[in-house]
């Protein structure tokens, strides 16, 4: 998810000069890109020591927090954009976090592995949990504790009164707008409070 093409596609969803909060910011590559290329400012939230260190090395603001403990440190509407890139699937409280995202930010951008991508479907039809480049773990050791599909997220967003401003699939660094639930390994949503 950190290849340059994907980075660029996600970054294009972020308005110029935004104040950004990146939940699960990893090594800070996206924030760094947004700061340099799109004049954004902001903070990354990370739990992993090595990622916190990588962010400090890059000169990206990073706050070491466990997202499962919520976003109470952040005030309502205090950010223009909240990013959750490959984060949602690791969270125990994924729905709460989605609501919190809508509370803290004016705009939310979420990306996660689309479990309905056709190779995954094929694997299930054959009776096995999928192991792919995008979902490289076995069922018993995966850190992706929430597996959902492109369509599932639409339902969850509606249920939480979020308006989806844009939605598409991502496959091999390319945007898929035709049958994204079938053709893309990654689902991307841009939304605001409804």
């Amino acid at each position: 998810m950190t290849d340059r093409a994907t980075l660029k596609i996600i970054a294009d969803l972020v308005p110029q000069g935004s104040r950004v909060l990146d939940l699960g910011c990893g090594d800070g590559a996206l924030l760094d890109f947004l700061q340099r290329e799109r004049g954004c400012s902001g903070y990354g939230i990370e739990i992993a020591d090595e990622n916190v260190l990588a962010c400090v090395k890059r000169g990206v603001n990073v706050i070491q927090l466990n997202l499962d403990q919520g976003l109470k440190i952040f005030e309502d509407d205090s950010f223009d954009v909240i990013l959750q890139i490959d984060t949602l699937q690791h969270l125990r409280n994924a729905e709460t976090m989605l609501r919190e995202t809508a509370r803290v930010g004016k705009l939310g951008i979420v990306a996660f592995p689309n479990f309905a991508h056709w190779p995954n479907r094929l694997s299930i039809v054959r009776g096995r949990m999928p192991v792919t480049k995008r979902l490289p773990y076995q069922w018993y050791d995966t850190p992706n504790i929430r597996v959902g599909t492109f369509k599932d997220f639409e339902v969850l967003a509606t249920r939480n009164r979020l308006s989806i401003l844009d939605a598409f699939g991502l496959q091999d660094g390319e945007v898929r707008r035709v049958l994204p639930n079938l053709t893309a390994s990654t689902a991307v949503f841009k939304f605001e409070r409804g």
Binding site: L53, V56, N61, Q64, I73
Partner: protein, 390 residues
């Protein structure tokens, strides 16, 4: 390469107004510097010390074998705060017993030793005194102010008192104020000292005695709070010194008792009782949000520096939650801030120890500071302040 440290002192004749309304004149500050001040004087880092430390932050004194610098793990050539790049200043606070003017010195107004009459000094007073030291060294703006625990409070206070005079603040294992529990521990320590029959109302110097019993107990209490339960259990457990229960309430039986008494004895040999009272009071008083009805966000609005905050998971005296309060206030003010919560078993003491993640984060942060425009253009050495040495 060994870092050689040279203690220095700067004398100040102009009176320093104190927060209490009192003032102090004819005082001196002990300090040490490491590394070289660059030509545009942009690479200075001020290190603020915690409760029982001093200006001797790192390195060895000539002829000394081992460093007794309290932050030797952090500061020196090639260390996280690299003295090959930064000009590091360690300063001893007013009221201390390690060289700066303190209760055992002569009050120029009375010609007598201050003793109990040494004025109460606050974190803000210390910062004002440190600013005058910088004036004396010809340093207008610091690359960073850094401190742990009470030193972290000074670093935070720097960002509010002199927002234009520093670019970065590194606040380690600290808090925006003490909790009631923390003040309670300080009070136990103070009561131990002032109720020692050798205390003589703080004028024990005249009696040629030292309230050692009080100091010992004060240190024992303090020491317990600096460690974590796990570390203490791992180090001492319930181990008996002589293997068998002796059924005495007077003698040492458990290893932990022996350890605490040893620490207390050592401390009472070198630390001044009045200094301990003053410094714990400064800790109790520190509360930048006192002028903003307890609203830390409003209190920190004046800060302009970029921040690195570090806490340690097992530190219960300055817990991660206290650091997160400062992080939140800085976020609310849209300040640049990074925060690392280090998973370390050692309790509050962890900030003085060699945790690899902790040292790596600080190193990375200072490497960023070194690469900033304000520090990259002028590597040439010019008129060093007297006595500045590598």
């Amino acid at each position: 390469m060994t870092l050689i440290a040279h203690p220095q002192a700067m004398q100040f004749d102009a009176p320093l107004p104190l927060q209490s309304g009192a003032q102090i004149r004819g005082y001196s500050l002990a300090y040490e510097t490491y590394g070289t001040l660059n030509a545009d004087r942009s690479n200075a880092v001020l290190i603020c010390h915690a409760l029982n430390a001093s200006h001797h932050v790192a390195g060895v004194y000539p002829g000394q074998e081992r460093s007794e610098g309290w932050w030797d793990t952090m500061i020196g050539p090639g260390k996280p705060v690299d003295t090959d790049r930064f000009f590091v200043i360690g300063v001893n606070n007013l009221g201390s017993c390690f060289g700066s003017t303190g209760p055992m010195h002569v009050n120029p107004d009375t010609g007598r030793v201050y003793g109990a009459d040494f004025p109460v000094v606050t974190v803000e007073d210390w910062v004002n005194a440190q600013a005058r030291l910088l004036d004396g060294l010809g340093i207008e703006q610091l690359a960073a102010v850094m401190g742990g625990s009470l030193g972290g409070m000074q670093a935070l206070s720097w960002t509010l008192q002199y927002p234009q005079r520093l670019r970065h603040a590194v606040v380690v294992a600290s808090a925006p104020n003490l909790t009631a529990e923390n003040i309670a521990f300080n009070e136990v320590a103070r009561r131990a000292i002032v109720t020692d029959p050798d205390f003589h109302g703080g004028n024990f110097y005249e009696h040629g005695v030292v309230p050692k019993r009080g100091l010992r107990i004060a240190r024992m209490v303090g020491h317990i709070t600096y460690l974590s339960d796990d570390v203490m259990n791992e180090k001492f457990g319930r181990q008996l010194r002589n293997g068998l229960l002796a059924y005495t309430t007077q003698d040492i039986e458990f290893q932990i008792e022996s350890y605490l008494r040893y620490q207390g004895d050592k401390f009472s040999d070198y630390f001044d009782a009045n200094t301990y009272l003053l410094i714990t009071r400064a800790l109790d008083y520190f509360d930048p949000a006192i002028r903003t009805e307890g609203n830390l966000t409003k209190a920190l609005a004046a800060a302009r520096a970029k921040f690195l905050l570090v806490s340690f998971t097992t530190d219960w005296r300055f817990s991660p939650g206290r650091s997160r309060e400062m992080v939140k206030a800085l976020l609310d003010n849209h300040r640049d801030v990074s925060y690392a919560e280090i998973d370390a078993p050692h309790g509050h003491d962890a900030f003085l120890l060699e945790d690899p993640q902790y040292l790596a984060v600080v190193r990375a942060y200072f490497e960023r500071i070194a690469s900033e425009p304000a520090m990259t253009d002028a590597p040439v050495v010019r008129d060093l302040p007297a006595g500045a040495v590598l």
